[in-house]
Symmetry: C2
Subunit: 109 residues, 2 copies
DNA sequence: TCCATATATCATGAATTATTGATATATGGA
DNA sequence: TCCATATATCAATAATTCATGATATATGGA
């Protein structure tokens, strides 16, 4: 995870459809969703969806895998962690007493 | 933190100068940095810096405070936490067994 | 009040990004 | 091989974003 990776990840998430897609994939968990299912769910035209999935797929936030005629997309939890870690990197170096409680509060109940 | 807040935060971080600024402010911690110091440190022209700081200041990721002739900027750790939380929200609902270890790994050593 | 410093705003042009209709490619099945 | 389905690519336009020179505003001090 270098700065360029982080930049393209953040830029990818700065667009509504793509943010929706990642959240959908996070919710879908390890079973993922096909490109078509994602597009249907969000009501996005086929070629627009394809272009936006391509942007996400160039980041480390999602992975995909062809399955017959479909392509299945998955949230890449390790990649998401790396992105958050990149953002917090300098925090640990400087003020871990602020950062660790911050992560503690994020935990699922 | 609604979706529009998250979108503008991610979009703000999808640009090199602004990502650099936030990381710098995270490193600077609670003492923050003035607009001029930030610009000097990153080698960015005054008006460009001002415009980019304005974009960041419209998000919940930084705060600022006038101090005499300068304006001092600070990382808003609570806002950063909310942004990460927004992204992970559906994860807790769906697959906390993936998400909690993810947050654990992020902790500062 | 006048000046210097710190930051913001305006107007413009360049660059990038987003959407879309049309079409192409890839896969599986008959 | 032919057809249907799933996704990708192309070309064009519209919309947005970016950086910048010039200028304006705000603050503090003499």
């Amino acid at each position: 995870m270098d700065k360029l990776d982080a930049l393209s990840s953040f830029a990818a998430l700065g667009q509504e459809t793509r943010l929706d897609v990642l959240r959908l994939l996070i919710k879908a968990g390890e079973q993922g969703m096909s490109a078509g299912e994602i597009g249907d769910h969000l009501g996005i035209k086929q070629n627009t969806m394809s272009a936006n999935l391509a942007v996400l797929a160039r980041t480390n936030l999602v992975t995909n895998k062809r399955e017959g005629r479909s392509i299945r997309y998955y949230a890449n939890f390790a990649g998401i962690r790396e992105l958050i870690g990149f953002l917090m990197e300098d925090c640990c170096g400087g003020t871990p007493e602020i950062c660790n409680p911050l992560l503690e509060q994020l935990k699922c109940p």
